[in-house]
């Protein structure tokens, strides 16, 4: 039988970079094939070419042995290829159902939409793979994890036989990853071919049958998942050691930098999404929040940043009440913010990098003042961020959308950490960042902590959460239900707390 996918000599150039340089890739029928590589190695680009979103400059593609030439994703979908993107592509103002059927609408006679049929089919697909969603909810109200589920359902709904997943696990907690892998195995058993990108090498080793490694746009290795170690993979990717988050000596002081007292946040329906939260983060301390996506951690972050008003309680920054201050006042007072969704809340995608680096700090030196924007200062600072945080880009004048996902994330981390904040609110700070750069970001956060930074860390990566935090609190249905010491807890225990299982069983000792 011919291979499901066979790419030969694929080359793709962008202004200032060659994203894919003579790439070869062969994926057998019904296998799970992982693509690994550093940030900017060209993984997403290759997948977009395969999905017909971007045309290759050179090279040929064969699907099931037939030479194909896709000019749009529609062609790819017709060939049975479906893709879930690194950055989700759902319409915020539509419901789950509407998003899923968008572009594949079943119609009644006379062209009216057959919502009934669509909903039935959607439920069948969702149930078959154990993907739970509320089909009538608006996308904008969903958390990142839920959005991904919608994306996957959307692809399966169209009957994809070759599934491309770009960093699907980046947004999931371990239990969800486990569930996703179970789904992937089921899909594989029913003959689906899966191609996926992942920066977490242990996950790659766990689920994949074969692995292709890209570096600087070139294929450097294509191997079977037999006897390969994460160490070897990492070396293939970056040529360096695989870092592990190590706990370092505590730098926690007595001085409280951020204090939340009795904070309650209500949603539009006046139901509490975070209730009576008490939290104190001291200078030099990292407090990690563990919780399954959608348990109120996002609302808590919004409340601290000031994009959501709290209904009761107080928020203090370095002893000053900031409960009623604007977002700008809070940021000027020293609150830095790494949002969970970089493209949604973190970037101006069509603006040059130096303007993106200024966003959130435009009222302060070196980016500007209350009245003026300091272009020279902003550019100099952006260059500094680019070098210090290894943002791979031809120059700082390219638009943010031209950066690879991981490099966008590095730019945001850089701009927030270089603003010398007192408090850092970091939601999934290393999401989408490759193993090498991840270690560097951890080092940067630790260095800032030594200098007195108080950090609120939210992460779906439990190793990161345990490795970085001084204290871990567990959030469940809007309440803090446990406070744990990272020295005494394993990712498995933490997972049990997050789903509430540990509490019912009287805790895991």
């Amino acid at each position: 039988m011919s291979a499901a996918i066979e790419l030969t000599g694929i080359t793709k150039r962008f202004p200032g970079v060659v994203a894919n340089d003579d790439v070869n890739l062969t994926v057998e029928q019904g296998e799970i094939h992982a693509i690994c590589g550093e940030n900017g190695a060209g993984k997403s680009t290759l997948m977009k070419i395969l999905y017909g979103m971007q045309g290759a400059d050179e090279g040929t593609m064969k699907i099931n042995g037939e030479v194909v030439d896709f000019t749009s994703p529609t062609d790819a979908i017709d060939c049975g290829i479906g893709m879930v993107h690194q950055h989700f592509m759902l319409a915020d103002q539509l419901t789950v159902l509407e998003n899923v059927i968008l572009g594949a609408e079943p119609t009644l006679t006379g062209g009216r939409l057959d919502f009934k049929k669509a909903e039935t089919h959607l439920r069948e697909v969702a149930d078959e793979y154990g993907l739970t969603v509320d089909v009538h909810q608006m996308i904008e109200t969903l958390e990142v994890g839920e959005r991904q589920r919608v994306e996957i359902i959307k692809v399966l709904y169209r009957g994809a036989e070759i599934l491309i997943l770009d960093e699907p696990t980046a947004v999931l907690v371990p239990q969800e990853v486990e569930a996703l892998f179970e789904n992937m195995r089921e899909l594989k058993a029913s003959g689906t071919t899966i191609l996926f990108i992942d920066h977490k090498l242990d996950e790659v080793l766990k689920i994949s049958d074969s692995i292709t490694v890209l570096r600087h746009g070139k294929t450097v290795a294509s191997l079977k998942n037999e006897g390969v170690t994460a160490h070897e993979l990492a070396e293939l990717m970056v040529g360096s050691e695989l870092p592990t988050p190590a706990t370092t000596s505590s730098t926690v002081t007595d001085e409280v930098a951020l204090r939340l007292s009795g904070v309650t946040v209500l949603n539009e329906a006046n139901r509490p999404v975070a209730s009576n939260i008490n939290l104190a983060i001291r200078k030099g301390e990292i407090v990690g929040i563990a919780g399954v996506e959608g348990n109120g951690q996002g609302d808590l972050v919004d409340a601290i940043i000031g994009t959501t008003q709290i209904s009761s309680g107080t928020i203090e920054l370095l002893g000053n009440d900031i409960t009623y201050e604007s977002v700008r006042k809070r940021r000027e007072a020293g609150v830095a913010y790494v949002p969970e969704d970089r493209q949604h809340e973190g970037l101006l995608l069509s603006s040059p990098l130096w303007e993106n680096a200024a966003l959130g700090h435009q009222t302060q030196a070196p980016f500007g003042s209350n009245w003026w924007l300091n272009r020279d200062g902003a550019r100099r600072q952006t260059e500094a961020i680019r070098q210090q945080f290894d943002v791979r880009t031809p120059n700082i004048d390219v638009a943010a959308h031209a950066l690879s996902g991981g490099n966008q994330q590095k730019l945001i981390i850089g701009r927030e950490l270089t603003s010398n904040p007192d408090v850092l609110i970091a939601a999934h700070p290393t999401r989408g960042i490759d193993v090498g750069a991840q270690a560097a970001v951890w080092d940067d956060i630790r260095a800032a902590r030594r200098n007195g930074l108080a950090t609120l860390l939210i992460s779906a990566d439990l190793d990161e959460l345990i490795g970085l935090s001084d204290t871990i609190v567990v959030i469940l249905r809007g309440e803090f239900v446990a406070t744990l010491s990272p020295d005494e807890v394993t990712p498995r225990d933490l997972g049990a707390y997050m789903t509430g299982a540990a509490l019912q069983n009287g805790g895991v000792a």
Binding site: F14, D57, V327, R328, R331, G346, T363, L373
Partner: protein
């Protein structure tokens, strides 16, 4: 160099396409295109027509800048029309009541016009921030209040007041003193050319329009406010997380837009000397088209304003020469808008591909120097 050529390719391409389409249109109407274009160009080559074109381009440009301020943050101020009419009325009324030394008089009139335009636009801003009313709907509504309500009511009042004896010259607000009229600048142009004949006067507001363009550019690209404005337009969520207050920005942008719209009232006031019963209408909508064609860019809008003004003014001659119907100008304005959108898209693609192959060449060269 090639990149530079490409950036010119878009407007040139749009122009060529427009000429082709309007030629076809002229042929379809049974007119002789060569004759029609010839008439328009020879008319436009006269100094007096050029003065008319500049006079017309001035309000077009102000109107475009007013619209563009909103567009830059995805705010569709369709209400420039109503804003300038109301500003015009108040400026004329108040300007007619006071007598002051010239500079002060003009300054007061300009401030009144800007303040009134600003407040009128601010209504739409408040409706949006406090009540969530879409600005397109509210500004359209405010337009019809200004035109269909206020203006119509005034016309009635004026006629009733004057009984049977009215003529269109006696209607309107009281004429304002000479000192309140923004001076004309024939002298400035005559430095470079011969004397302007036919009693044509070049509006001094042209200088203000140029100043507004310069300030607009400065505001957008050099000020913190301009950065906030653009950021809000590109990604409102990121803007908000970056400390930009969304409601205050909506209000500020709306009021700034209205203030610039108010200046159009000053142009008209300087021309007519009072608020007449038949003020020129449609400037607000032309401004939207000019802003679209000029892509909200200060230079681009200047070019677009001149082009629209040229088409408007020079087509006037067609009625007398009979070479074609002057409505051809409207067709051309519409077509140039459409073709510009297409041409800009194509040029962007070409430029990206160009840059990509340049990068590849550079990379190849590098490799040859340092063999792997």
């Amino acid at each position: 160099m090639r990149t530079y050529a490409l950036s010119l390719a878009a407007p040139v391409g749009a122009f060529v396409l427009t000429v082709i389409v309007s030629t076809l249109a002229l042929l379809a109407f049974g007119s002789n295109p060569v004759e029609a274009y010839g008439d328009m160009l020879s008319h436009a080559s006269k100094l007096e027509t050029q003065v008319d074109i500049l006079n017309r381009a001035t309000p077009f440009y102000l109107s475009a800048v007013a619209a563009a301020i909103g567009f830059r943050m995805n705010l569709f101020n369709i209400g420039v029309e109503g804003q300038y009419l109301v500003a015009f009325l108040f400026a004329a009324q108040i300007g007619g009541l006071i007598s002051l030394p010239q500079v002060l008089h003009i300054l007061v009139i300009m401030l009144v016009a800007m303040a009134v335009g600003s407040l009128y636009a601010g209504l739409a801003g408040i409706l949006k921030t406090a009540r969530g009313v879409n600005e397109v709907i509210s500004t359209i509504m405010l337009n019809s209040i200004a035109v269909g309500g206020l203006l119509a009511w005034l016309q009635q009042e004026w006629q009733a007041e004057q009984g049977e004896a009215f003529t269109s010259t006696t209607l309107g607000t009281n004429p304002i003193d000479e000192s309140g009229l923004f001076p004309t600048i024939n002298g400035l142009l005559e430095i470079f050319t011969r004397d302007i004949g036919q009693g044509k006067q070049l509006t001094g507001m042209l200088l203000i329009a140029i100043l507004v363009g310069v300030l607009y550019n400065l505001l957008l690209n050099r000020t913190r406010f301009g950065f906030d404005l653009r950021a809000s337009g590109i990604n409102p969520f990121a803007a908000r997380a970056g400390g930009i207050p969304p409601k205050r920005m909506v209000l500020a942008a709306m009021m700034l837009s209205g203030a610039v719209a108010g200046l159009i009232g000053v142009v008209e006031l300087a021309d007519r000397g009072k608020f007449p019963p038949d003020p020129i209408q449609g400037l607000g909508f032309q401004g939207i088209a000019v802003a679209l064609l000029g892509r909200n860019n200060p230079g681009g809008m200047a070019f677009a304003a001149l082009l629209f003004a040229f088409l408007d003014v020079s087509s006037g001659v067609l009625d007398s020469t009979g070479a074609a119907s002057r409505e051809i100008a409207v067709i051309m304005q519409g077509v140039v808008l459409l073709t510009a959108v297409v041409a800009y898209g194509v040029a962007n693609r070409l430029r990206e591909r160009d840059e990509a192959s340049e990068a590849a060449e550079a990379l190849l060269a590098e490799r040859e120097v340092v063999p792997a």
